[in-house]
């Protein structure tokens, strides 16, 4: 490339020297062609990557957005005193004796009178009509009555969830053909649903309970939400942040600034890098053995989950912190030491503040990684029907059984009712929003505060 004449002499087939430099010879053409090809490969590779991303995102969005909407039915329920409070003394203990099953006829008769008012002829019995509602409706009604015993005897209007099959019909997932063998719902009930929809009392609406609510059993997918699992994830991240950041930063400052360079520190260094590559399930087994079986911490608790994820995140934080400490030029340290600062002062007053953006970025990326982790949680009992109690306080948040967002998604994807599948995708959307936000914050921090030397 450097010497045109030399290269042309080396190849016997080269054109004579008199040829213009502006005219390309065969070798230049070949090299240029290779370069063009390489660029093309690069573009193809990026294109494939982008295509995958687009396919993934469209898939997630189309499959998951349905979970954010739910079908509701407006209903005026007469809270009949003779059913709910037989003794008539409004004693809360007596009212509590009526179980959720006792509320089902109340709802069915409310629906019957509503249907009469709307002038709908369905030919269904009140019980069959009541079946289009979610089982969660009974619980909602009972909770309302217990919270407001004074309302007994009055007619109160409610917005109830409908059953997952009816919701699936409203969303186009269930059709008259697909329920041919289904025992849960009949074609007549779907006709009834159509009539209610035309009357405007049955409609689809945004469902905040999916984002803030608790998990629900296999029988009522329509009522399941990811809120409590989100809290579980949050408490785990607190534990990770409170433990992994100080320990990781302290370890890397010592290794980078104070520790002598010898075989021992080399071994430690290699092992930290190895630790970063250990599969996360291994940390789960470790957590089960150490934290639960040996230390007797409670199972399924976010505290234990956080401890396990701390072990997983530590190497990531140590590696990124060391890299950002290394990036601070030695002249800063020398200058500080030169004006009489102790080594510790030099590190904490000058080096650490300059390395802080890098440390924070590494920490956020480590946290994002921990947030999306499921495998270790399987072993410490955070997968199952768990996220059904919202923790009542900070200590309970750490110690009472809870799930985590990815564990909840995994659990939903295993359940039989297809409606849970939609919720699993909805959960993925929420989880992805968290991850993208965290990574964006990391990028912004790096852009804004990182100094190049």
């Amino acid at each position: 490339m450097t010497d045109f004449s030399q290269s042309s002499e080396a190849t016997p087939t080269a054109k004579p020297k008199s040829e213009s430099l502006f005219k390309m010879d065969a070798r230049t053409k070949k090299r240029n062609a290779a370069e063009t090809r390489f660029k093309f490969y690069g573009i193809v590779a990026i294109g494939i990557g982008l295509l995958m991303l687009v396919v993934l995102v469209t898939n997630i969005v189309t499959a998951g957005t349905g979970a954010f909407q739910q079908s509701f039915l407006d209903l005026n329920v007469e809270l009949k005193a003779d059913k709910l409070d037989k003794k008539g003394n409004r004693n809360i203990e007596d009212i509590k004796k009526v179980s959720t099953f006792g509320y089902a006829p109340l709802i069915a008769s409310a629906l019957e009178s509503e249907v009469e008012k709307l002038g709908i002829q369905s030919g269904l019995t009140p019980k069959e009509m009541g079946k289009i509602l979610s089982k969660a409706a009974q619980a909602e009604l009972r909770n309302f009555v217990i919270a407001n015993p004074g309302k007994i005897g009055e007619t109160v209007s409610f917005r109830f969830l409908v059953n997952s099959r009816v919701d699936g019909y409203m969303k186009g997932r269930v059709s008259r053909e697909s329920i041919a063998n289904d025992k849960g719902i009949s074609v007549e009930q779907l006709d009834f649903v159509d009539q209610l929809r035309n009357a405007g009392v049955l409609y689809k609406a945004f469902n905040p309970d999916f984002i803030f609510g608790t998990d629900a059993s296999d029988q009522r997918p329509e009522a399941a939400g990811i809120g409590v699992a989100m809290l579980g994830s949050l408490f785990m991240m607190f534990v990770v942040l409170a433990l992994a950041l100080p320990i990781g930063v302290a370890a890397s400052i010592y290794l980078e600034e104070f520790a002598p360079q010898n075989r021992l520190t080399d071994i430690i260094e290699v092992n930290i890098s190895n630790l970063a590559a250990v599969p996360s399930i291994v940390f789960g087994i470790l957590g089960l053995a150490v934290f639960i079986n040996y230390m007797h911490l409670p199972t399924s608790a976010p505290l234990v989950g956080g401890l396990v994820l701390t072990l997983m995140t530590l190497p990531t934080i140590i590696i990124s912190t060391r890299a950002s400490l290394k990036a601070v030029p030695p002249s800063i340290r020398d200058a500080a030491l030169g004006v009489g600062a102790s080594k510790m002062q030099a590190v904490f007053h000058h080096v650490l503040p300059l390395a802080a953006p890098g440390i924070l970025t590494g920490t956020i990326i480590g946290l994002a990684q921990a947030l999306g982790e499921t495998a270790p949680l399987l072993l410490i009992g955070m997968v199952g029907f768990i996220a059904s109690n919202a923790p009542d306080g900070v200590v309970a948040g750490f110690l009472s059984p809870n799930s985590a967002m990815p564990a909840q998604i995994y659990e939903w994807s295993k359940r039989a009712d297809p409606a849970f599948y939609e919720r699993a995708w909805g959960g993925i959307i929420i989880l992805l929003i968290f991850l993208v936000t965290m990574n964006t914050i990391a990028v912004i921090l790096r852009r804004r505060f990182e100094r190049r030397w």
Binding site: K96, S99, T100, F101, K135, A139, R142, N143, V174, S178, I179, A180, N181, D182, K183, G184, A216, S217, D218, Q219, R220, V239, A242, L243, L245, P246, I247, V249, A250, I292, M295, H296, L297, P298, T299, S300, A301, L303, F348, G381, V383, G384, F385, I386, S388, N389, V395, F398, L399, S400, P401, S413, K414, R415, A416, D417, P418
Partner: protein
């Protein structure tokens, strides 16, 4: 310096809270993934109707659940183990070794196991013999034990279409596998008379050992890829059938009933599986479901006895309860079960 303070206070909080963690106030359940949906329905209703918090139900399989159950007595061990099979002698012994002596066995009802294929594919009417001939490692042809030569269902039974055999059956960690082996493969093997051929070929010191070896040979499944073990859940089996339209999978009745738009069910010995045909015993492939309660925890863990009683109450486990609606076949002798729970009758007699 604030890092140091932060981490010190975090550790202190962790330590303090760990010591206050001794009083657990919710029931903890683990075990069979078949029982999990029922247990979660009960747990949810229990949390709604009682002042106790909703119990925590984990899955993981019958064996894993019973293993955790038998780890010992105390707040850090589970209170209830769900199982899709009866507890084994070995497990009772392991429990006793760890100090778990008084175990209350509760049978909640029956669960049917169904064979289902893609909704648009061929329909089948199976007998246990068909499944034995399709999946056993060795079958008897002309009086000789030979490696299973059948490639399509038509080879198994001329009445079937020539569809390649592709079976997705539960892996060995599932309790369902045991039922499949016992009630389908072994039944087919014995019914065909192949059992005698195995018995003749079996090695053993005495008749009992020979019989055991023959049974084992009966239920040994072929390993040439025709039968695929699914270690995950039924959703995985469903996904497999989705991608291989020739596949036939083993499901729980409740799972099938939730996915009737994608699956068609095969009859067994001419009987269509349903809660009714299973309750009457006509449909042959069913098994009882259980949960086991640690008696030592009753009175210590608030709500444990109430949970057990609520689980088998008529309004829950009865023929019109939510469990039956979801696919559980109600136990006709539920009254006896309720009595046993109320009296805290433990395994092996005594109270």
């Amino acid at each position: 310096m604030s890092f140091v303070k932060l981490s010190a206070s975090a550790l202190a909080i962790a330590a303090v809270s760990a010591t206050t963690a001794t009083a657990r106030d919710q029931v903890q359940v683990a075990g069979s993934s078949t029982v999990l949906p029922y247990a979660s329905i009960v747990a949810e209703a229990f949390g709604e109707n009682f002042d106790f918090p909703t119990p925590v139900v984990e899955s993981g399989g019958s064996s894993a659940g019973l293993k955790r159950f038998c780890e010992g007595v105390g707040e850090n061990t589970i209170d209830v183990a769900n199982a899709s099979r009866q507890i084994r002698e070995k497990e009772i012994k392991a429990c006793a070794d760890a100090g778990v002596t008084d175990i209350i066995e509760v049978q909640i009802g029956y669960d049917g196991i169904v064979f289902a294929s893609d909704i648009n594919g061929n329909s089948f009417e199976f007998t246990p013999e068909d499944w034995y001939n399709a999946l056993s490692a060795q079958i008897v042809v002309d009086g000789q034990l030979v490696d299973n030569p059948n490639k399509t269902w038509a080879d198994v039974n001329p009445a079937f279409p020539a569809q390649p055999i592709a079976a997705f059956i539960p892996g060995t960690k599932h309790g369902t596998r045991e039922v499949f082996e016992d009630k389908v493969i072994l039944a087919g093997c014995e019914h065909l008379g192949d059992f005698d051929a195995y018995l003749a070929a079996a090695e053993g010191d005495n008749d009992k050992a020979k019989k055991k070896a023959a049974e084992k040979a009966c239920i040994a499944l072929r390993t040439d890829g025709v039968s695929v073990d699914i270690d995950g859940d039924y959703t995985e089996t469903l996904a497999r059938i989705d991608s291989n339209k020739d596949g036939i999978g083993v499901f729980g009745l409740a799972f099938y009933e939730n996915n009737t738009d994608k699956l068609q069910v095969a009859t067994m010995s001419g009987i269509v599986p349903s809660t009714e045909s299973i309750a009457t015993g006509e449909y042959p492939v069913s098994r009882p479901l259980f949960f086991y309660v640690k008696k030592a925890h009753i009175g210590v863990i608030p709500g444990l006895k109430e949970y057990a009683e609520f689980f088998v109450a008529d309004e829950i486990a009865g023929p019109d309860g939510p469990l039956a609606e979801y696919g559980l076949v109600s136990d006709p002798e539920l009254v006896k079960v309720q009595e046993a729970v109320a009296n805290e009758t433990v395994l092996g007699g005594g109270s």
